[in-house]
């Protein structure tokens, strides 16, 4: 006998109530370290070299990375501002906003129907939950959404997506566990064309970026959809876990090379991790951050805003 598929409405309701807190309140928990650290450093006094060194450590401690932290400190140092808490905070904030506000990001054509979005990432970053949230946004706008259960590897991944599809009001195309991921995607896109669907979102299995054969598989999924809809997938979203450290850089690099990532989603920003690594990624690869995940319910997805993000880090 198999265990029951649960879809507890009570839980959903409870989640709905808990989500009525705004982003800032939720991010407040995660910003104390950096913000308080800055206050402590500036009040501690001392010479410029010591202050800059401690700021550098603080930024590294927020996962911003050694190189990007050094760059930010260098900018602050050479700006010639007087070193007091407010000016330093403002200078760092401006630098981060500058890095995150990417220019020359190619426009994505969203007019083609069906619009095809593929979601990729390493294991356990929150791909399936992110897909549910994206689908909820789109169905909320009155769009017709179809989910492709191309994670045919992980135990119960299909069931997980199916429950979400039911909750957010999206269609789903699935095969059995162990089926060929690319053929699920192919069937899903075919079905989307037949059913006049607006957006197809393809869920893929988590894979470590160093596993060559698995990376080839994800590239193949992309190639297969292009056979049905020209220049698709239109978007390839890489989901990063906010708690991930410098490894996220290698993830961004590998997935970009393999399947042309068009945007990032940072999941699990409701914890104490600040997701500082995206600053380094934006600086190094110029990939835009599109959304941030801030909780476990289908509504907890917010469009990324560089200013808000920097504020959440620093104020």
């Amino acid at each position: 006998m198999s265990p029951p598929l649960r879809d507890d409405t009570k839980q959903v309701k409870k989640d709905f109530v808990s989500r009525i807190k705004n982003l800032k309140t939720r991010l407040r928990k995660s910003r104390n370290l950096l913000s308080d650290g800055l206050t402590r450093i500036m009040r501690g006094g001392g010479d410029k070299a010591r202050i800059l060194e401690e700021i550098d450590e603080l930024l590294v401690g927020a996962d911003i990375g050694v190189r990007t932290s050094a760059h930010i400190v260098e900018q602050v140092s050479s700006s010639g501002i007087s070193l007091n808490e407010q000016t330093v905070r403002e200078a760092i904030r401006e630098e981060i906003v500058g890095i995150l506000s990417l220019e020359n990001v190619p426009e994505i054509d969203t007019t083609t129907r069906p619009h095809i979005v593929m979601v990729v990432g390493v294991n356990g970053t929150g791909k399936t939950t992110t897909i549910a949230k994206l689908a909820r946004r789109l169905t909320g706008e009155g769009k017709k959404v179809l989910l492709a259960a191309s994670d045919t590897f992980r135990a119960a991944a299909i069931e997980q997506l199916e429950i979400w599809a039911g909750r957010v009001g999206a269609d789903i195309v699935k095969h059995k566990m162990g089926a060929d991921a690319a053929s699920v995607a192919y069937d899903a896109v075919s079905a989307a064309i037949a059913r006049d669907v607006d957006t197809v979102i393809i869920d893929t299995a988590g894979r470590l970026q160093t596993k060559k054969n698995l990376m080839d598989e994800v590239a193949k999924i992309g190639r297969v959809t292009a056979k049905l809809v020209e220049s698709s997938p239109h978007e390839v979203l890489l989901v990063l876990d906010a708690t991930t450290g410098q490894n996220a850089i290698s993830q961004a690099r590998a997935f970009s090379e393999t399947c042309g990532v068009t945007g990032l989603v940072v999941a699990k920003l409701d914890g104490t991790a600040k997701g500082g690594i995206v600053v380094a990624i934006a600086r190094e690869f110029g990939i835009p951050i599109l959304y941030i995940g801030t909780g476990e319910t289908a509504e907890d997805l917010e469009p990324f805003d560089a200013e808000v993000f920097a504020d959440a880090l620093l104020t």
């Binding site: 990375g65 390493v122 997980q160």
Partner: protein, 439 residues
């Protein structure tokens, strides 16, 4: 594992290794590079600070400066500090004297708890232990199905409940069931949660109070950044941790979490997850890990892996055959299959001392698959006596294995060379041959 950290540390140490004399200046310099390497590997900055200070004090101490090869001595200090920061020896889960041994598995969302539960069960299963898993994640959609599917693969039974029940009650009834079945161990898989979610952390406290586990294990993602210490500290202060399992350690993760978590929480790292298969769980040995990080290889793990997968008698038989030039393609195929059982080539090579640098090279796992296909397309006679294989047989084999005739030719040529090499070794001609090769 740790490839990047390893490379950077090796570079930092290389400069000081050969020095006949070391001064405060070159120690400070080397430590600067060590510091950077550790920070880029996500080791918590506070841990890094402590680490470099400790190394410096020891390195500038009498013993290092006055030793015959201070450079080497310095490397030894770094090795010992690394080892000590990661723990005191291997620390596996032990079975309690009053069964069942109760294990509770906790962690953030997506850290790999459910897979870790199944991997532990598989490990115990191979030791002939009987167990029960309790599915206490009632929140994530299809979490119970995931545990159930993995458990079937182990195989081990799962206790779950049809009706919506609270996890504390599920655990209570699951334990009762475990006692009734007189199992050796029971593992509770809890829902992923944030360490700052007070309501959910309270639930864990209640589960722990109900279960009174012998081992409370935190499962942490090996790719976690600076936040690893906060996570470990929070779970530790709420629940008290007996050990940690680091997961996803088969990528190019920097592994800083391995160094930080133990240093901050004091809880030993018991196992590391090194792959998606259920047997991809290794016991964590701080000493061997320190050795691997510093590019000194890990012969012990390699030998253990070989012993786990190879049959000693079979190996002796092969050696005999090799030396008598009776080694056939059939034996060769057997060897390839055993190699593959030991795990990814890259991991194996990384354990050989001095070979850590080869890690960058693209080891072609596919070549093994092609060779396997070619040999599998030969008749048993052809495998024993490759001289039988003429032009038309070559074409047939190529067709059958999806390879090109050239590939078949190359394989046959390589095989003959290897066979010749070994028979000459036996006849004591090897030194002459090596001379001519190096010519």
């Amino acid at each position: 594992m740790f490839s990047e950290l390893s490379e950077k540390l090796e570079n930092a140490l290389k400069r000081i290794r050969g020095h006949g004399k070391i001064s405060e200046k070159n120690v400070t310099e080397a430590l600067k590079d060590v510091r950077l390497a550790l920070l880029e590997a996500d080791v918590n900055y506070k841990v890094v600070k402590q680490f470099t200070e400790d190394v410096k004090v020891k390195a500038l101490g009498e013993q290092v400066l006055t030793s015959i090869s201070p450079g080497q001595q310095f490397v030894k200090v770094v090795f010992e500090e690394l080892r000590d920061i990661m723990g005191e020896g291997a620390s596996e889960i032990t079975f309690a004297s009053d069964p069942p041994t109760k294990i509770m598995v906790v962690g953030l969302q997506g850290s790999g708890k459910t897979t870790a539960c199944a991997k532990i069960a598989r490990r115990f299963k191979s030791k002939g232990r009987k167990g029960l898993l309790i599915a206490a994640d009632i929140y994530r959609p299809a979490a119970v199905q995931q545990l159930e599917t993995l458990a079937r693969e182990v195989p081990v039974d799962v206790y779950y409940e049809q009706e919506q029940a609270n996890p504390v009650d599920i655990v209570k009834r699951g334990l009762k069931e475990a006692r009734k079945r007189a199992v050796d161990y029971v593992i509770t898989d809890t829902a992923g949660r944030l360490h700052i979610d007070s309501e959910m952390m309270e639930e864990l406290r209640q589960i722990k109070a109900t279960m009174s586990p012998h081992e409370t294990i935190l499962v942490a993602d090996g790719m976690t950044g600076q936040d690893a210490v906060t996570i470990a500290t929070e779970f530790g202060s709420t629940l008290g941790l007996d050990g940690v399992i680091l997961t996803k350690m088969d990528g190019d993760e920097r592994g800083g979490a391995a160094l930080s978590i133990r240093a901050v929480s004091g809880a030993p790292i018991k196992y590391v997850g090194v792959g998606e298969k259920l047997d991809a769980l290794e016991v964590f040995h701080p000493e061997r890990m320190a050795s691997r990080i510093l590019g000194m290889g890990d012969v012990l793990t390699l030998v253990e892996k070989a012993q786990d997968t190879m049959d000693v008698k079979e190996a002796e038989r092969l050696q005999e055959k090799l030396l008598k030039e009776a080694f056939s393609l059939e034996d060769f195929l057997g060897q390839i299959k055993q190699m593959k059982k030991m795990g990814p080539l890259e991991d194996i090579v990384g354990m050989i001392p001095g070979f850590s640098k080869m890690k960058g090279i693209d080891l072609d796992e596919g070549a093994l698959v092609r060779v396997e296909a070619i040999i599998s397309s030969m008749t048993p006679q052809e495998r024993v006596d490759p001289d039988l294989i003429d032009g038309s047989r070559r074409r047939r084999i190529a067709m059958g294995s999806g390879a090109r005739v050239q590939d078949v030719n190359r394989l046959l040529k390589d095989f003959r060379q290897v066979r010749k090499l070994f028979s000459q070794m036996n006849k004591g001609k090897l030194s002459g041959m090596l001379r001519s090769l190096m010519g």
